[in-house]
Amino acid sequence: MKCDIVLAGVGGQGILSIATVLGFAALENNLYLKQAETHGMSQRGGAVQSYLRLSDRPVYSDLIPFGKADLILSVEPMESLRYLPYLSAEGYVVTNITPFMNILNYPEIELVMDEIKRLPRFVAIDAEAIAKEIGNSKTSNMVMLGAATPFIDIALQSIEHGIREIFGRKGEEMVSLNLRALHAGREFALANR
């Protein structure tokens, strides 16, 4: 098993919560893991990424080589395109479709979506809408993680367990909300891959 993931977003969108859940699941499955994060200046609304590498063999580099990522998981559509050089020939892009427009020269969203639709393998998902349906827009990152689960070779139960551990201290209601978000995202991806 080997899964190299580029997690992408904008500083403040909380992509690390996705990494934390996956990290927990990986550890539970005795997988080797390395996860490089962006701290510091870029956290202030800049482009941020995390390289998450899971494997049943030792992982050496903290960075993913170009053309080797199995998955780009982006919580923002334009950011999903920024890391395309990392995507392998067989890799998937799973991206949220809600733009985060904190720059003046943000391209036309239709053009961004056209680029995404040109990719051979992608899932484009409205994570905010699904999260709202579930009842809490803050769960959109778990919707995104759910949408990525069909492409990550880790048992779903382990990821659910990760959510229980991470959100447990926020109460049972938050756990079940986030679990619902995870499943909703997963179902969408399975139907729209």
């Binding site: 994060e37 202030r44 609304g45 395109l81 395309l84 680029e115």
Partner: protein, 540 residues
């Protein structure tokens, strides 16, 4: 013991706790900050009441750590690479005094300048001070080398420099810690009462002691379990890997390198080990993150001996951090084909947060400065440095902590009018106060705007040593009370702030305007903590 998922910096924090420290001293700086934060949040550190408060700057931090070492206890001091410039004086002289309790100076370098103004390589400082340098290659080693680094420090009687770079600092991996932490040292004065007195007559002896120790330092590098040769079948090339460079090489050879590798994680370089390795191979490639310090040492002036390649001959790029693709290219390995970034993807630089008080400072300043033209605003290091970017374009310099005030003063000395410094609260107490004293003593014609968000925000909202003290510090330094103004950094105060700036520009002398509003990120965290407390849940 169970595996913990730790950032490299957290592994260092855990290693320091398990190594029996009685204190951590630090000023926040990316990518080093979380070493201290990890210790601050650790249960054992709290129950042992390990010293874990932030210091005003890296110099005061290092001196305090040296003081704890003098008193016989173990200490770690943490900073980013440019922080070591601030602490360079005690750093160089701590090498002269040596230590009593074990002392580790942990420095995180930032090649590629993700969050820094240069990419200086702290290993040069280690060589400069002639002390051992540890450069772990992964998170587990970061833990182990910190934990055992205190023993090394005490055995050799020297401070030890622990050098990491951004990727190790901010990458997480499974780390297996030991079962129990070392007990703290007892309070014990140095056996030699002259050890810490660097008067010339004593200092000469200390310097000789330091010179004499070099043999031992090198022998310990030679015997370090973290250094060594990894065999390979093809001896046409030998690769020397320093620190995390090893990972990028092995990424290209997951089943083992065909070429022999010399793994370096402890300095000074063991000449015995390097010579042994050189005999094995036809030529050498040096892979190191940062400056080509090992390469320079081995290449020599006249290029005698076996060919040495690396950053100096262009085999590897001279600037920026390493990655697996750079190594693949240097070794002429085939890389995977990859997509290009579509041209429509726009840059997304960092920006001030929505609702940030610095925004109000810059809007007012920009309005006033439109009368004077560009080139009058001296900025500093912090979130507000982002004011130099669009939409504000407010700020013409950003050099080092505190330089806004002193550069404005120098420019005013040269005749520039107006000369305006923009500095944050924490940067002001870090290195701005002394410059203020210079300006006051000379009645320099400058305006200093202290953007006070009551926090050290760029590094994550640590407590600011300036909190509640800025006006009294300015008064104490001799600024007239009538020229010290505090104003809420709020949109409703825009006109007031504009006229205040105009008024104080007209004053011939030092004036201070303090636009003040709590950092929005810090406020949000404070509110959410309070909610958690009120709901009766445990706050981690």
């Amino acid at each position: 013991m169970t595996k913990k998922l730790l950032l490299g910096v957290e592994a260092i924090g855990q290693g320091a706790i398990d190594g029996g420290i009685s204190g951590v001293y630090a000023y926040p700086g990316t990518p080093s900050t979380e070493i201290t934060e990890y210790i601050q949040g650790n249960k054992l550190a709290v129950s042992r009441n390990i010293h874990r408060e932030w210091s005003a700057n890296e110099k005061t931090a290092l001196e305090s750590a040296l003081g704890m070492s003098y008193a016989g206890k173990r200490a770690i001091v943490c900073m980013k690479h440019v922080g070591l410039n601030v602490a360079a004086d005690p750093f160089m002289n701590a090498a002269m005094t040596g230590i009593n309790g074990g002392l580790i100076i942990a420095v995180a370098d930032d090649p590629s300048m993700h969050s820094s103004q240069n990419e200086q390589d702290s290993r040069y400082y280690g060589k400069f001070a002639m002390i051992p340098v540890l450069e772990p290659s992964n998170q587990q080693e970061a833990y182990e080398m910190t934990r055992t680094g205190f023993d090394l420090s005490e055995k050799l009687g020297t401070p030890v420099l622990l050098r990491i770079t951004t990727r190790l600092a901010h990458s997480r991996a499974g780390v297996i810690p030991v079962h129990s932490a070392t007990v703290e040292n007892n309070l014990k004065l140095p056996s030699d009462p002259l050890q810490f007195i660097l008067l010339p007559a004593f200092a000469r002896k200390r310097y000789q002691t330091l010179l004499d120790k070099q043999v031992d330092f090198e022998r310990f590098s030679d015997e370090s379990p973290f250094n060594g040769i990894i065999e390979g079948a093809d001896h046409s090339l030998g690769i020397i890997c320093c620190g995390i460079a090893l990972n990028y090489l092995l990424e290209n050879f997951p089943d083992g390198s065909p070429y022999p590798i010399l793994k370096i994680t402890q300095y000074p370089l063991s000449s015995k080990m390097v010579k042994k390795f050189e005999k094995l191979v036809d030529k050498l490639l040096i892979i190191e993150e940062g400056y080509p310090i090992v390469e320079e040492q081995l290449k020599g002036f006249f290029d005698y001996g076996k060919p040495v390649s690396g950053k100096l001959d262009g085999t590897l790029p001279r600037s920026g951090e390493l990655n697996p693709d750079i190594i693949a290219k240097a070794l002429h390995l085939k890389s995977a084909s990859c997509n290009a970034i579509p041209p429509l993807v726009a840059n997304r630089p960092p920006a001030l947060c929505k609702g940030c008080g610095h925004n109000d400072l810059f809007l007012a300043l920009d309005e006033v400065m439109s009368d004077y033209g560009d080139g009058h605003v001296f900025s500093d290091i912090g979130c507000y440095t982002l004011g130099v970017l669009p939409p504000y374009h407010s700020g013409n310099t950003c050099v080092d902590m505190g330089s806004s005030i002193t550069m404005a003063k120098g420019a005013a000395d040269a005749g520039l009018f107006p000369a305006i410094a923009v500095i944050g609260d924490s940067t002001f107490t870090h290195s701005g106060m002394t410059g203020l004293l210079d300006a006051v003593n000379e009645k320099s014609n400058i305006l200093i705007m202290i953007g006070d968000n009551e926090s050290t925000s760029m590094t994550g909202g640590q407590d600011s040593a300036a909190f509640g003290r800025i006006e009294s510090i300015c008064k104490g330094a001799g600024v007239g009370s009538e020229h010290i103004h505090v104003i809420g950094a709020l949109p409703k105060n825009h006109e007031k702030l504009v006229s205040l700036i105009r008024h104080e520009i007209d004053y011939q002398g030092v004036s201070i305007i303090i636009p003040r509003r709590e950092c929005v990120q810090k406020a949000a965290r404070r509110i959410s903590e309070r909610k958690k407390e009120n709901s009766g849940l445990n706050v981690l």
